[in-house]
């Protein structure tokens, strides 16, 4: 909006400027013509003097005639003497050459002719003679239509010849056909409603408009508006005037209706707007091309390269190297690619390391499992008992273990234990505990003595406060006597005549927890077909997805529902029940079971 206002203002001043230019140009032209006419008037005044001094009529006649051959705007030239001034005997003397407007031929009114033409009483002569006062002065008549010779619309310029007393002897006349200049002035008429005024020094007006009929001879004083004002109102129309004063009081003035300046300007503005819009469209198109070359192309290239990087080629470096944001983006992306590559390498390295650790943990689990007696049936030569045990490790290596071995020919030791926590520390602690228990048991100590010693040994340097819950019993396979000790472990289930019940066990503290604990052992007598079911908390604390525990009650019910199963089948059935209960929940802890069926006696 601001821009268009600026454009309008600029346009307006430009339009005015061009008007002033045309007016100036016409003024200059008219000025030149006037100067030529002035020169001619003076020239013919001097001719009048030469003719007089030389008493030569033919000189004047010839000069006037020849002059007319070359003149364009001058339609008639001549000079005229005051009465009896040329010759004492002749009242009227002069000559006049002119272009006959009808025939376009040069005609000459010679001295002979003028003798009979009473110019002295003519309007133009009296007018001139009245105002002509000084030599070298050129005067102008009012515009008039010559009805005698040229029939032109004209103005006559004149200069005089004076004697010593400053009395007029003769005067020249140069007739200027102003039709032509009026037509030219019409051409500078800027709008349809405007008009051009040429004002003669006599203050008469020659109003120029399209038709010659509108030419008027009016005195300035008779005008209804002030001719000298820059703007005026005429018949309800506002005009603006441009004016130039020329030599000898000639004046050129252009009157333009203010409205028409704007009207034309508006229509010009429409064209201008169209041009402006077209220009804007072209500029936009250029900008689009420019953006395409400078921005979109690099971005497309960038996208292509990024896609290649995205497909896994991290060695790809983007080749956009401009100093703008796109270049910056490309550089940043290149940096990112390098970083990404090193990160991926790092991750791959760490992944490999984890794989290695994972593999080692798996081996550790295998070693741990393989430390447990796992080939069944074991002790096939002993018909007095059946034994079966299983340890199902959780995903993460744990600390459960079981063991059974003969201390001497008749005494079978069974051990089940659970090290606190998980992972490698637990596994290592378990190995130590298992070895210590077996070694001490095999050295002929009672269960209580074994636990007393092993507890103290495990307490040494046990900064991590790890411990193991353990149950151990000695079965005399001949007598059925079963001596057992419990260090914080789950009480075993004992099947007597009819069903399983939890063995009444006085539990001691866990192994490795506190030094100098005195464990107490108990003794029961097993009968033929009595069965012990030993387990770790991986059984009773198996969880389902609702974080509920399998529990001792459910275990109790399960074993009592399966009284007639062989040891191996019993452990499998319990595991099935646990799986059913867990309903897909991940096994969190090792599940260890040991079944000892006494068959002796």
């Amino acid at each position: 909006m601001f821009y268009s206002t600026l454009v309008i203002r600029n346009y307006k001043s430009m339009r005015l400027e061009s008007l002033i230019e045309s007016v100036n140009f016409e003024t200059e032209k008219v000025n030149k013509v006037i100067a030529e006419i002035k020169r001619s008037a003076l020239f013919f005044a001097s001719n009048a003097l030469i003719s007089l001094e030389g008493e030569s009529k033919s000189f004047g006649e010839k000069t006037a005639y020849e002059f007319m051959k070359t003149s364009k705007v001058i339609v008639g030239v001549g000079f005229w003497y005051e009465p009896y001034r040329f010759e004492p005997q002749t009242k009227l003397a002069g000559c006049y050459a002119f272009i006959n407007q009808k025939t376009k031929e040069i005609e000459l009114e010679d001295f002979e002719y003028t003798k009979t033409y009473d110019y002295l009483t003519s309007d133009w002569y009296t007018q001139i003679a009245d105002i002509l006062k000084n030599p070298y002065e050129v005067v102008w008549t009012r515009p008039y239509i010559d009805d005698s010779g040229t029939f032109a619309y004209m103005v006559t310029a004149s200069a005089g010849v004076f004697d010593e007393d400053n009395t007029l002897i003769a005067l020249s006349t140069v007739d200027w056909d102003i039709n032509e200049i009026i037509e030219e002035l019409n051409a500078i008429k800027p709008t349809t409603g405007s008009f051009v005024i040429l004002s003669a020094p006599s203050k008469d007006l020659i109003i120029s408009n399209t038709s010659a009929a509108n030419r008027q001879k009016t005195a300035i004083s008779e005008l209804s508006w002030d001719i000298y004002a820059d703007s005026f109102e005429l018949d309800g129309v506002n005009y603006m005037a441009l004016r130039r004063i020329m030599d000898n009081g000639w004046m050129l003035s252009v009157q333009i209706p203010t409205k028409e300046i704007f009207a034309e300007m508006e229509s010009q503005m429409e064209i201008f707007s169209i041009i402006l819009i077209s220009f804007a469209v072209i500029i936009l198109f250029c900008v689009r091309v420019f953006i395409s070359i400078l921005v979109i192309k690099p971005i497309e290239r960038l996208a292509l390269d990024i896609a290649e990087v995205g497909n896994g080629n991290l060695d790809k470096q983007i080749q956009v190297k401009s100093n703008d944001e796109v270049g910056l983006l490309a550089a940043t992306f290149n940096k990112m690619t390098v970083n990404l590559k090193s990160s991926i390498e790092q991750i791959a390295k760490e992944h490999a390391e984890r794989e290695r650790i994972g593999a080692e943990l798996e081996i550790a689990t295998q070693i741990q499992t393989s430390m447990l007696p796992s080939v069944f049936p074991k002790f096939a030569n002993h018909k007095d008992f059946d034994i079966y045990a299983s340890m199902l490790p959780a995903k993460e290596i744990g600390g459960d273990f079981y063991d059974f071995f003969f201390i001497d020919a008749n005494i079978l030791a069974v051990v089940i234990a659970d090290v606190s926590g998980k992972g490698i520390p637990s596994a290592l602690f378990m190995t130590v505990a298992k070895t210590l228990i077996k070694n001490n048991a095999q050295s002929g100590k009672s269960p209580k003595e074994v636990f007393d010693i092993v507890n103290n040994l495990l307490c040494e340097n046990n900064e991590a406060a790890m411990f193991v819950t353990a149950f151990m019993g000695y079965l005399d396979v001949k007598s059925g006597k079963f001596i057992f000790v419990n260090a914080g472990h789950n009480p075993p289930l004992l099947r007597g005549k009819e069903k399983y019940d939890y063995l009444k066990v006085k539990s001691g503290f866990v192994l490795g927890g506190m030094k100098d604990i005195s464990y107490s052992q108990d003794e029961i007598s097993l009968h033929s077909q009595d069965e012990l079911f030993l387990y770790t908390d991986g059984v009773t604390e198996a969880m389902n997805n609702e974080s509920r525990l399998f529990g001792e009650k459910r275990l109790h019910t399960t074993v009592n529902n399966n009284l007639n199963l062989a040891p191996k089948e019993l452990t499998e059935t319990v595991k099935q029940e646990i799986d059913k209960f867990a309903d897909g929940a991940q096994q969190a802890d090792d599940i260890t079971m040991l079944v000892l069926r006494y068959k002796g006696k």
Partner: protein, 101 residues
Amino acid sequence: MSIIINKTKTDEKTVFAIEGKLDTTNSAQLQDELIAAFDETKHLELDFAKIAYVSSTGLRVLLLGEKTAKKKEAEMTIINVSSEVMEIFDLTGFSDILNIV
């Protein structure tokens, strides 16, 4: 799922009211808090009212707490032990070692 430990401290003692399950996944949190607590107090009381289950890892942390208390000649007591948790303490012999009120 972690446990929430609400701590209140008086001149006399520090009380940890613990909520949740003391198992493998979150016992380490309690372990750090327990050991740090004995730097500032001579009597730490563990409120087990909102403890439903203690795994062997949880027991180890309690044992560690008890050992730290002994070493620093401080006292660790456990209050509001539920019957389920008490069963675990009894079974493992922890009821003889821990100061259960």
